[in-house]
Symmetry: C2
């Protein structure tokens, strides 16, 4: 995003504004800064070729940034903070994989580290080269020929990162190429409708090392292709799996237009990456890996959250037959939610009055380029906010809920994910994830059944899989010293000696402070609630520590066996809530490196196992694991309607009363609804 | 709702339409019919005074109605069905409480039943008389005088139905009067801010039988008032608990207008109570008790649901101290979701292009009157429906989700509940419940703490309570013979002899058909899914029985002890899912009579205990219990921001592919979104 001029605002009546030029410490790197950093690094390694994998903002340590943000909000002099970039690069070849920090102002390098055995994330170029290398490989061509595909077949390769399955040396980069075909010359014809019988394993140089026949009715595992095999079963040819409007001609004409109009413009105010809206003040961040991040969230001047982000996501497939255990995606660590963010289109993706944010990424040569419209910001009506009618007078008082939506959409091969933060006028935040796009497909013989998948079209198996997300919540509830308080509701025993409870209907709550870093589970049967509180700030109304509760999205946790590589590598999927002590740079629930990682290093479980620090009245971080066990249904083919998951953060005894009590009363003069009197239906029965 | 002329639609090309005059069997009674029925009943008891408690449509037996509906949808001759009213009335006095069915065409009475020991629901007149009787009572006046209230105090009575607590004869109608006061002459000043120290118990003749001092720091139970007690603590006087805009002056001016415009009108077509929208076809019903009901739901001509309704709701308070166990509301059976439905206001409650439905109720004399605007119908944009971008071509295809909302709002004393059915273009249905309004308040001494409540304002305790709802789902998945299939996802053991699973990552599903009527629980740890299927109709794609899955709202179940009257009387709160065999008239999860009921008669648990009929490939009914354990927070005072709960019904292998594949592609020409370029913020920091 473009760097903003940060203004020091003296109270308006005293002095005029003085501008401090230069980026805000949380502003992503500008194109000029990206170019500068790559220049600095090339100069540092004059006899080498530097291949830039990551050039991104190194967010300042909290010890420097928190006081900066506080001073900024209080209109005081801000301390000077070094502005640094975090870089990962290859020196000449993939074997020399390094990282370093670069001070943008001084050009000084620091924290340089070699990363032997680690792998950089994948990218579009790797996918393209993998596809080309695969299709050019003679063995692959022979195998395709043996399949005897229809004449109009165009073979398409879906390249996958390799999730270690114990069968290969994970220190060597591997790409799995799953072959599909389309039977139309149209470049958006749905090749997922025709998963083919073979796949290819490829090395980092885009050379195919093995070609396999995939499991089928005859074999419950992949088998190296040796020259023979089944032909493509032409009974599988069908036409109902297209989604592109050029090929899926049936189109409803029944849906009348629906427009959102804001005649006075939106209620939000934006300066650079700073958003002010309905007493909310927050900063929008963006980086190649996490995509959209939210910083320095306050409501009515009170601190709430230092940082909110999706810290990782893991999508493991549950088909046990090789090579399918290799399908387990870390869409942030392996692919990057930032680099894969869609270019959102006005009126297509986004309805209403829309503000877009751009981002910048860089080529392998370190040249910056724009990722336009990666985040959209707009308001939405969310129905009624609060209402009451006094039955004695029949006077109704009602307010409508206006929410602020900050949204981004990523495409990771077949899948799309929509990530949105919602803010409402009652000081509540929601994080909504929606899955859409195309379910991953493997082949299945006609008439065969599957124990770990659903047949969604002729010869098309959609394997069972899970989507697990880790929402990282760095609370700053009225300050940085917080605690995690777990509340449960339980029935008071009948005729309890203390509570008496003669009618047997009483219930009360048990509250437990969490003392040390640990994992926790949700438990709906106990109405378990997780509250992030500040024990040093008590509600003037009832003396409870002010807080925000996490309203989790209750989900099944990771099904893969705890000893499996999936479990070891993902780490966060074992439990619904993790609480850690804050440490700089601990941002990723599965650790810094996920690509062909062994796990057990710096994911959230490993961090805890290695230390168990105190989290009582400390600077803490909450990681919420949620998602869905996705056993596909035919309705999800060829593209799936969005599956929604929502997590909320709500104030608990933080405010002395409803923070939305002052929202304007809903009225027809402003809202201009239209009364429908006649929508009679000629021809309806 | 106004009776509709039902048209027989021959295919348009063959014959012109012929109208069959007369109401549809599912049309609620018209005003003329209500008047006719009351006339018939008065004539049947010429020497008596008939006090009409209920005059409502007796929905026809399914054996008659289902063939009728099928014929109607198929444009065939419809069988004639008797049209009957169901009535409950007093003959002269409350002791003679009867019910009967009246054939509207013939005037014949049938199914007449005396209801000794049963109580009719409460209504506004009872509340008004209770308040008057309470305030007129000398003991109450003496107790109020002893409280030494401020001069400007206006005492207000909150009348409550009596939830039996074992201390009174439940066959005698009791009203509990909780006294509050307001300190402003404004009639909408919030009296819930000042719960007073006394309450009164009253009989059916509005005579106060006892006056109690409520529990406080001194006593953990109510004590009969004998002349002395504490004075009202004037330190409790505060001004922050007002919600009415005349008294809560602070009002945001930051929220700019947001309007929804449908320049070509809405996409729905409505004839009487028949709605056609985006391949959905359904009928809207309404009655005094359940409020909004949905009937005969089909999508693209295929049967889905015979009937959807809120069958009951139970709101028990968890404060064990007498008299608070008496606070446990059955807002349908005791109060009526229909009679308490709000008169929805264009542009206040409802945003966009709105169609309203009216309903009719009747006076105690049997005279019909209108309940206007009790149900609103409108479209809403619900974000993205499905999207995919082919990364090779960068061609994005995206559709927006348009939903149809049918909504009603009820006010039951302090609380408001918003009930809405949402239908989307992917053939999914959601049922959303929102709680708002004012949390019930009891007094608490300043400085005292509570174990079963939250202090939300000075001297104001909001007791812990639960909201439990029972959604009654009468499926007709491609016909009336359905089964309930429970699916769970479980990890395949490492190195399983059948599946092998060498990587330890595989998982599969276990499916169990439910054979007999029984209760079931949700279990998120097993990703337990409840599918209503038709075993006689198999998916042509994968051979699975076509179905719809219930996506439950996972909730804590009833906390009251299983032996308590709360548990016995509510019945449905014990488990999340109940499946029963269909029987006519079994509509209410806690039974026909809830007012001061003993329980154990005809609630869903009793029905099952008494028979355990088969539900495999039968006409079945699913009852989903969901809700929230509500431990109030200060942010919910003086009115609470809506707390949302949502249940969904989604097709599973019912369609051969995504039923929304043909939705119009989202485009700017139609959607007319507006790009924001400058919303800079003068004065923002």
């Amino acid at each position: 995003m473009a760097p903003s001029a940060t203004l020091v605002d003296e109270p308006l009546s005293i002095q005029p504004k003085k501008a401090i030029k230069g980026p805000h410490p949380l502003d992503p790197l500008s194109p000029a800064e990206i170019a500068s950093v790559s220049q600095i690094l090339r100069a540092a390694f004059p006899d080498h070729k530097v291949i830039f994998r990551v050039i991104t903002l190194a967010e300042p340590p909290k010890a420097l940034l928190a006081p900066y943000l506080q001073a900024e909000r209080a209109n005081q002099i801000r301390p000077k903070i070094p502005r640094k970039a975090f870089c990962q690069y290859y020196l000449n070849d993939r074997q020399q994989f390094h990282q370093v920090e670069v001070d943008i102002d001084t050009g000084k390098l620091s924290s340089r580290e070699e990363l032997p055995g680690k792998h950089s994330y994948t990218d579009a170029e790797e996918g393209t080269k993998a596809e080309a290398g695969c299709l050019a490989e003679p063995t692959v061509q022979a195998a395709l020929k043996q399949l005897d595909l229809p004449e109009n077949a165009v073979v398409v390769v879906e390249p996958w990162t390799y999730a270690p399955d114990g069968l290969e040396d994970m220190s060597q980069r591997i790409i799995m190429c799953y072959l599909h075909m389309r039977l139309s010359p149209h470049k958006d014809a749905n090749h997922f409708a025709y998963p083919l019988d073979i796949c290819a394993q490829m090395n980092a140089e885009y050379q195919v090392t093995k070609v396999f026949t995939l499991p089928s009715a005859e074999s419950d595992r992949m088998v190296e292709w040796t020259g023979t095999g089944k032909k493509f079963d032409r009974r599988k040819i069908h036409s109902s799996s297209e989604y592109h409007p050029d090929l899926q001609k049936e189109r409803r004409t029944t849906t009348t237009p629906y427009q959102v109009v804001q005649p006075e413009g939106p209620s939000f105010h934006i300066e650079g990456n700073l958003i002010n809206w309905e007493k909310w003040r927050l900063k929008v961040g963006f980086n190649y890996r996490e995509g959209l991040t939210i910083h320095d969230v306050t409501y009515d001047g009170r601190e709430l959250f230092y940082r909110l982000s999706l810290s990782e996501m893991f999508v493991p497939y549950g088909d046990p037959r090789s090579p399918y255990p290799r399908k387990a995606a870390f869409d942030l660590g392996n692919n990057g939610a930032g680099v894969n963010a869609n270019n959102l289109q006005l009126g297509c993706d986004c309805l209403g009055t829309i503000k877009y944010f751009d981002a910048y990424h860089h080529t392998l040569s370190g040249d910056p380029f724009c990722l336009p419209n990666v985040v959209c910001c707009h308001e939405q009506d969310d129905g009624i906010l609060w209402k009451h009618t006094n039955f004695r007078t029949n006077n109704a008082v009602v307010t409508h809920s206006r929410i602020l939506v900050l949204q981004t959409i990523i495409t990771v091969n077949n899948y799309e994910y929509i990530f949105a933060f919602h803010f409402n006028q009652a000081a509540e935040i929601s994080y909504e994830v929606q899955a859409t796009g195309i379910v991953s497909t493997n082949l299945i013989d006609i008439g065969d059944s599957a124990t770990s998948g659903t047949v969604v079209a002729l010869g098309v198996l959609a394997p069972f899989h899970q989507h697990l997300f880790s929402l990282r919540i760095d609370p700053a509830i009225d300050g940085h010293k917080n605690s995690l308080l777990v509340e449960e509701s339980y029935a008071i025993p009948y005729k309890d000696p203390v509570f008496h409870n003669p009618a047997g209907i009483g219930y009360t709550t048990q509250e437990t402070f969490i003392e040390h870093e640990m994992p926790l589970d949700t438990d709906v049967t106990k109405a378990r609630v997780f509250k992030m509180v500040n024990e040093n700030v008590l509600s003037p109304v009832n003396g409870a520590p002010v807080g925000y509760k996490l309203v989790p999205h209750n989900s099944q946790m990771l099904l893969a066996h705890p000893d499996s590589l999936h479990a070891k590598r993902s780490e966060f999927g074992a439990h619904a809530v993790w609480v850690t002590r804050y440490h700089d740079k601990e941002l990723y629930a599965s650790g810094q490196h996920t690509m062909q990682s062994p796990g057990g290093e710096d994911g959230v479980r490993s961090l805890i196992q290695s230390r168990k620090e105190g989290v009582r009245d400390e600077d803490i971080v909450i990681w919420h694991t949620f998602g869905t066990t996705h056993n596909p249904r035919t309705e999800e083919s060829p593209v799936m309607p969005t599956e929604k998951m929502m997590v909320s953060l709500k104030p608990v005894n933080f405010f002395t009363r409803n923070p939305a009590i002052d929202v304007a009363i809903s009225n027809q003069l402003t809202n201009k609804s239209v009364l429908v009197t006649d929508v009679s239906c000629t021809g309806c029965t």
